[in-house]
Symmetry: C2
Subunit: 219 residues, 2 copies
Amino acid sequence: MKVSVVKNILEANDRIADLNKKMFDEKCVFVVNIMSSPGAGKTTLIENTIKALKDEIKIAVIEGDIQSSYDADKIAATGVQVVQINTGGACHIDGNMISETFDQFNFDEIDLLIVENVGNLVCPAEFKMGEDYKVMLLSIPEGDDKPLKYPLMFHESSVLLVNKIDLLPYIDCSVEKIRNESLKINPELSIFEISGKTKQGLQDWYGWVKARIKEKNGS
Amino acid sequence: MKVSVVKNILEANDRIADLNKKMFDEKCVFVVNIMSSPGAGKTTLIENTIKALKDEIKIAVIEGDIQSSYDADKIAATGVQVVQINTGGACHIDGNMISETFDQFNFDEIDLLIVENVGNLVCPAEFKMGEDYKVMLLSIPEGDDKPLKYPLMFHESSVLLVNKIDLLPYIDCSVEKIRNESLKINPELSIFEISGKTKQGLQDWYGWVKARIKEKNGS
């Protein structure tokens, strides 16, 4: 008997992601996939975003972690619905994991779905999940050589949030170099400098989110 | 015709890693596999270690990166032999990649082989390469919740270097919590607090390396 081989696991994932995207579009749910290294500040960004926008926008969150519900518990404290995906060792979230959460949500009641990916600057960039945009954080303690060394993440993202800029006086890192190297890889990238701690620069990020939701709703 | 399935890609890797280990043992080469998130300070640690020890120990380095030779160029400037592995997208180094470098080295002339893994707190922990010890860095800007969220890396490592402690006054992170949570996962873990920038604590790390090399050489 002939053995069929699925040549491209990424193509198989893309098909599921495309189905997810179609459903999100029909329901007018704007979906962002938040990616970064471990500890770059994804959860704090999401907490800040919820607190700033939840009175005007209906928000839900999917938390991706290898194990534990540590971050999901923090998000749940903000009062929005959160569903935890435990990948059980897998280093990224894929389209199928996202579709498995669908029966937990009433998407008619959600404008913005934020997905926090597993902390990893490599693998998540390869896996679509049906999101409108990929958004990455790079925290400045990670250094200004990261675009050069992990280019796919910068290539696939639409927004780069350069986080923890409150630490700039204490760290040898050039935001200018991060900007230049990132834009060489992806000239379309929107770059915001932020601090989750001092909240510097977050208004620009909130503005970007609100403008994209308006666009998606055609208003 | 019956289709044979390799059930466990990790088992296949383990076989190659065991062969590597046997060769390293025969040649009395002490091998450490350095792992961490992107930007936690692996390259700077290796540079410092070479500068401190190269007059008494013969050192060589394998640099693992998805692409580029940025880190390898920095290591080469210290005057020791360095071989670059570009994984071409893969998020970790495996046993086979290491064995592919063997014809580049004269292991009779090497006491210490340092392997810098790809920056990733997830996948590298699963892949043996024939090393004597796995050593991980955690930089304090990554936060004190990392043992809880990425336990395998802490479980597999023999040494945890808590790095960038010069930033403690500016960051909300408890080294005590990192210690406690790490030791819950792995009670055998040796933990050193260091700063690649100020060089605080590095003497303890150098002492650990020298003692292990002596052990391996049976002296």
